[in-house]
Symmetry: C2
């Protein structure tokens, strides 16, 4: 009699919603890979734009700029968090940054093997080195570092297909109640918000 293979328990999945301008998404992006792997959870990286989400709440910039006390606190808190994690941190001069090109390129790259590394590299340049990633040449530089052709990638990122995909993804984020970044959504629809909820989200996804 043929022996049946042991049934493999399907791994949990987790959607990782992120906006490149978001400060607390930096440690989340740097942490999620290893933490998910340790729990056998598959992560889907889903870039979106917070601008339209904030606009719907009546904000024309980051709440960290609108509410100075909160902003001052956030920068110090982020500095402490990065220090505890051993992550480099340099506060960028420009905040929030224009992340349209980065998000479009991420959507392109995430269809390929270097997508997640690209996202981490953007966060690293922005908050680990304090650079402005808003300019296409800054993104081209990162793309180039992965041995990709920047012109081809940026051209691809400017296609209607990618523009529409990013718009659709941002609309989906709003539709499912996302109001900030990072957000994590499990297969059964549980929403978790914030770098400090990453572990809880992964545990939920694993159940």
């Amino acid at each position: 009699m043929e022996r049946r293979p042991a049934k493999v328990r399907p791994m949990g999945t987790l959607d990782f919603w992120f906006e490149f301008a978001s400060t607390y998404s930096y440690p989340a992006a740097m942490r999620i890979g290893a933490l998910a792997e340790a729990r056998g959870v598959t992560v889907r990286w889903r870039p979106f734009l917070l601008g339209p989400v904030f606009k719907a709440q009546g904000w024309d910039t980051s709440p960290f700029n609108l509410y100075p006390n909160k902003g001052r606190y956030m920068w110090r808190d982020l500095e402490r968090i990065c220090a505890a994690l051993g992550l480099p941190f340099v506060r960028p001069t420009v905040f929030p940054q224009n992340t349209l090109v980065a998000a479009r390129v991420a959507l392109t790259a995430l269809k390929q093997s270097w997508g997640e590394d690209f996202c981490r590299a953007v966060y690293h340049d922005e908050f680990g080195e304090g650079r402005d990633i808003g300019e296409p040449f800054a993104i081209a530089d990162i793309v180039n570092g992965f041995g990709q052709n920047p012109d081809a990638v940026l051209e691809q990122a400017r296609t209607d297909a990618i523009k529409n995909a990013l718009r659709a993804q941002t609309e989906e984020a709003q539709r499912i109640g996302i109001f900030g970044s990072p957000s994590f959504v499990t297969a059964d629809g549980e929403l978790f918000w914030g770098n400090d909820r990453l572990e809880a989200a992964l545990e939920w996804a694993k159940r």
Copy 2:
């Protein structure tokens, strides 16, 4: 030769700033005692009012009411947190609640041995049982449960000394940059905000 006693390392101290209307302050208030004791940190309970703080930011109610997506998320998140901690949770019908009497009585009670228990009891009634603690009789009921004379305590809470002390405490909170509850402030001035920062604040206080 007389032997000198071993030098006792002074324990760390931590100021716990809280507003009774604040949802995430409920798990913080329930957790802080044991966690601080385990680390040898002394906690000073400091009730204040968020109303003036929010007003200074242009809000006339809780941001959880002003931003429905955020509010919906917070209630679900709080429910999950309480479940994980084994804390009872019933969403109160009234939110945010009028906490003026509770805060004044807390200032009175915290000068006595039943102060911290009183604060925990208020949070329990409000978020563990979903009751309205805004009415003086609800507070009188809690006071009574500690074998105290409600009339005497409420009269004491209405004195100018207590009214002024609460006003001064709220102004101090604003002066040191507090913008939400719970907040934790170490002796060297580090500010931590949120139930999810309680452990980090205690670790900082212990250093």
